[in-house]
């Protein structure tokens, strides 16, 4: 199979996120980046498919801090090719990023071979302008399924599982090539030991492929960016069990649990 995994770096929420002086962007002082979680599953799913059906896994990223580590890790895990598009991800919204990636994929082969799967993560925590997978599918005019949690390819098509809610899933049949937004792989992402990543850094290479930068990097203008009020300590509810229960019911309603 011909598998493209699109990897995106997102701010690491373990670090404290602060708003920069412009009141709109994130303060870069303590900002660190990590691979978006669902993308990690997309990579795993691709590797599992390759192990089972053969083929080639290409991981593709835009330029972002710490992205080389992620690419080498992917290579150490078993990806065959790592491509970096030298466009600064931080300046692009999802719409523009989709355009850049679509250009790259079109340049790879038009049309894409029939055993191609393009696998972005289902969503990213900073997808303010929408998700990459449907945007890419539109740009490439390929079929799309999102929130995918299982893929079984067959001649020219694939049976995929989409997660609905509460453990309920639906099975869909998709004509290939297709773009599938991966939520979770068949197995949790594998661990790759540090020694293997180091070996990859020594022996493997990251390809850089030039693409034209998009004319309009962002769709949306931010008015203001801020931190939500921190809770700090629980809001204490007082009164008799009945009174407390009444308050709790309100809270449950507010949180859509009733």
């Amino acid at each position: 199979m011909n598998l493209y995994v699109l990897l995106k770096m997102v701010p690491d929420t373990v670090e404290e996120l602060n708003v920069a002086a412009d009141g709109k962007s994130l303060d870069s002082e303590f900002l660190r980046f990590k691979l978006n979680d669902p993308d990690e599953h997309a990579l795993e799913q691709a590797l599992l498919l390759k192990e089972k059906h053969g083929g080639k896994v290409t991981v593709v990223t835009l330029d972002a801090p710490e992205v080389d580590d992620v690419l080498f890790t992917a290579l150490a895990k078993g990806a065959d090719r790592a491509v970096k598009l030298p466009v600064n991800q931080a300046e692009l919204g999802t719409v523009a990023a989709a355009r850049v990636l679509a250009d790259f994929l079109k340049a790879e082969a038009t049309p894409l071979p029939p055993d191609t799967l393009v696998l972005p993560g289902s969503y990213a925590i900073d997808d303010l302008e929408g998700e990459l997978a449907p945007l890419l599918a539109t740009a490439l005019e390929l079929p799309y399924v999102g929130v995918v949690c299982g893929i079984a390819p067959a001649e020219g098509k694939a049976t995929v599982r989409k997660e609905f809610a509460g453990g309920l899933r639906g099975e869909f049949e998709v004509a290939l090539p297709a773009v599938l937004g991966i939520q979770s792989a068949d197995k949790p992402p594998r661990y790759v030991p540090v020694a293997k990543v180091r070996a990859a850094m020594k022996s493997a290479r990251i390809e850089t492929v030039d693409v034209p930068p998009p004319d309009r990097p962002r769709q949306l203008e931010l008015e203001r960016t801020y931190k939500p009020e921190a809770a700090g300590h629980a809001e204490m509810l007082e009164g008799s069990p009945e009174e407390v229960a009444d308050r709790l019911v309100e809270i449950l309603v507010k949180n859509s649990a009733i």
């Binding site: 661990y191 790759v192 030991p193 540090v194 020694a195 293997k196």
Partner: protein, 676 residues
């Protein structure tokens, strides 16, 4: 009269003896050659350093066998059987050589009076020992003692040897005219009993006994390297080549490795020759199984089995040609990953093994293979990911490491900016675990009150890598180690003090330091020195009985037993020892990365629970003192799960010191440690 001067089936005795001897030694030699051939297929490691020290170690532990005496019932009997064996082996060879070369101008050993007396006394002692050993096997077999046919057969053979000597002496005296002698007291006694036997018959019996003796011993020679009694031959080498002879026992580094060992061992040939030799040396005594907390808790790990499985697999695969397709896989088929992960690396097994086997490095080699295959359970994987990214297992930002200092009320020096005497390497748990925060602050206060000149690396510190290394993630260990060494190289300090015993061990014994190894101390050692120097302002006398839990990595790994006890005594506390005290301390279950692993199956009793029950049974003890931050998490949890709240409280040693050094409040002189 020479027992070789006989004719059997028309063959002269001398020819027969030569034939038997050549056959036996031939088979023996072939087997040894085979076994050594197997060892040579293992990976190289240098265990030839400091031969003199090694020899000393061997002499002490082979000839005196102090570890055998750890178990009373079998200590003396084994000691006697061993020495009996040595004496007999010497005399046998003497006898054999004399028989093979009749022209030699030497008597047979039993013809020398002193030797004969010696032999007789020993036979009796050995016979008694055998009786004890048999009784132990039959009636009081300790758990995990391998009750094989092998072992029983050997006891019978030894018995036959002893009896044949005694009866041989008896018949010889009769055949030579019945002159009893004080040099052969038992032979004389037997001679009296058989006095009625005609001389000729007695002579024949005496010869028969000599031959019986020879044949049994030659059989023994052939049989030995095929049985568990191979340990007789292999163990002395095993002891000679043991790591503890020249290096800290817990250092997982391998000297002189020719291959990269960080990917671990998937096949037996990928273990080092010394790890393979361990299988030949194992006496199947079960000491390690009896000491192992994983075994006791019902995890699928038995250190003895592990050693045995490797040995059997090696012999099957290496000698019986079961290799290539269809061969069993060492990991997965012979040894299950579950077994490999169950070990807490507590060192209890290695600490009691009388042949100095090294289970922990073996287990870690196997783990390294699983890690390199990515075969790591989810929770552990998360932790390793956290350690790669943030340098701590808590998955918190590295910048938060010294957050506790902000509320400690102290201004603690930054050793990267100003020189300090002690660099305090705080460690993950003491830095990040909210349960430990208070204890860490108190430790800092005590240091400050005692006038200790100390500082931190602040966010420059990383997890020291002890558990990471034991989990088998060698590359990550190296990464953490290198980052720490870089940070340490920039700091100005003379000594290191650590909170965590695991950190202590790794910094002290596993960091290379390039010749500038600073003194590394555990905080209990520092506190003990401060107390001795009278620098701890003990404002309050504490009173009452406490018990103290020796952390594996402080006690067994590094022999620090007395410092924490000194401190407790200095505070005025009475330390009541648990039955499993000091080097027999029972692991809390956290080590070797176990604290990061999931319990996927129900087990009988967590090690920490067993330990808490042990402490609760001590009369008048309500305080369980620990000296390791992980112990706080493990034992406070175990107190809850055993329903022992109110009966016992888990306290860090530093908390008690802080209580005693707190500026005097009005009134109360003696305080119970419970109400800290």
């Amino acid at each position: 009269m020479d027992p070789v001067n006989i004719n059997l089936l028309g063959l002269p005795g001398l020819v027969l003896l030569w034939a038997l001897a050549l056959l036996a030694w031939g088979v023996f030699g072939f087997r040894i050659w085979q076994l050594v051939g197997l060892l040579r297929q293992g990976r190289y490691e240098n265990r030839f350093d400091q031969p003199v020290r090694r020899l000393g170690h061997m002499i002490r532990h082979v000839l005196l066998q102090p570890r055998i005496f750890n178990e009373r019932a079998i200590g003396l009997p084994h000691f006697l059987i061993f020495w009996g064996f040595l004496v007999y082996a010497t005399c046998f060879n003497w006898s054999l050589v004399r028989g093979l070369f009749p022209f030699l101008p030497v008597p047979y050993p039993d013809e020398v009076k002193v030797v004969s007396l010696f032999l007789e006394v020993f036979s009796v002692l050995v016979l008694i020992s055998l009786a004890v050993a048999v009784a132990r096997r039959l009636f009081f077999a300790p758990p995990h003692l391998h009750l094989s046919l092998d072992a029983n057969l050997i006891l019978v053979l030894i018995g036959v040897l002893m009896l044949s000597t005694l009866f041989g002496n008896g018949f010889r005296i009769v055949s030579e005219g019945g002159h009893t002698s004080a040099w052969t007291p038992l032979g004389s006694l037997l001679a009296k009993a058989f006095a009625a036997t005609p001389t000729e018959t007695a002579h024949a019996w005496a010869n028969a006994m000599w031959w019986l003796h020879m044949i049994v011993v030659l059989f023994f020679l052939v049989y030995l390297p095929y049985s568990k009694h191979l340990h007789l031959l292999a163990a002395p080498f095993n002891v000679f080549f043991s790591q503890s002879a020249t290096r800290p026992v817990g250092d997982l580094g391998v000297l002189g490795a020719k291959e990269d060992l960080s990917a671990g061992a998937a096949r037996w040939q990928e273990l080092t020759w010394r790890q393979l030799l361990g299988g030949f040396s194992c006496a199947e005594c079960g000491r390690c199984d009896r000491a192992c907390p994983a075994t006791a808790s019902g995890y699928p790990l038995q250190p003895q089995q592990l050693i045995q499985k490797v040995k059997e697999h090696m012999i099957h695969a290496g000698l019986h040609g079961r290799q290539g397709n269809g061969a069993q896989k060492l990991i997965g088929e012979v040894i299950a990953p579950k077994e490999i992960w169950a070990c807490t690396t507590c060192m209890a097994c290695m600490n009691c093994c009388a042949v100095w086997n090294e289970q922990v490095p073996l287990i870690v080699s196997l783990r390294r293979h699983l890690v390199s295959e990515g075969d790591v359970e989810r929770t552990l994987q998360d932790m390793l990911g956290n350690l790669q990214r943030y340098g701590n297992s808590f998955g918190k930002s590295d910048r938060m490491r010294a957050k506790w200092t902000q509320t400690s009320g102290l201004k603690i020096k930054d050793a990267r900016k100003e020189a300090v005497e002690y660099l305090w390497f705080v460690g993950d748990y003491a830095s990040y675990d909210p349960r430990c925060e208070d204890i860490t602050k108190k430790t800092a206060q005590v240091f400050a009150q005692a006038g200790l000149d100390f500082g931190l690396l602040y966010e420059g510190e990383r997890n020291a890598g002890n558990d990471v290394r034991r989990v088998g993630e060698e590359g990550l260990f190296e990464m953490l180690r290198d980052k720490n060494l870089q940070a340490l190289a920039k700091a100005k300090f003379q000594k290191i003090v650590t909170t965590d015993p695991h950190t202590y061990h790794t910094l002290k014994n596993e960091y290379p330091w390039n010749g500038h190894r600073p003194e590394v101390q555990h905080y209990t050692e520092v506190l003990s020195q401060l107390a001795q120097a009278g620098k701890l302002p003990l404002n309050k006398k504490l009173s009452g009985r406490v018990t103290y839990h020796d952390p594996c990595y402080l006690g067994r790994y590094n022999g620090v037993y007395d410092a924490p006890r000194h401190v407790l005594h200095a505070l005025g506390l009475e330390v009541i020892e648990m039955p499993r005290g000091r080097d027999r301390s029972y692991c809390c279950g956290a080590g070797g990365g176990r604290i990061w692993m999931e319990d996927t199956e129900k087990i009988q009793e967590r090690p920490a629970e067993s330990r808490i029950r042990e402490a609760v049974a001590l009369a008048g003890v309500q305080t369980f003192v620990v000296a390791c931050p992980k112990d706080i998490a493990m034992f406070r949890d175990a107190v809850k799960t055993t329903g022992c709240e109110g009966k016992i409280a888990v306290r860090d040693l530093a908390e008690l010191v802080a209580k005693a050094t707190a500026p005097p409040a009005a009134g109360n002189a003696a305080t119970n440690p419970q109400t800290a």
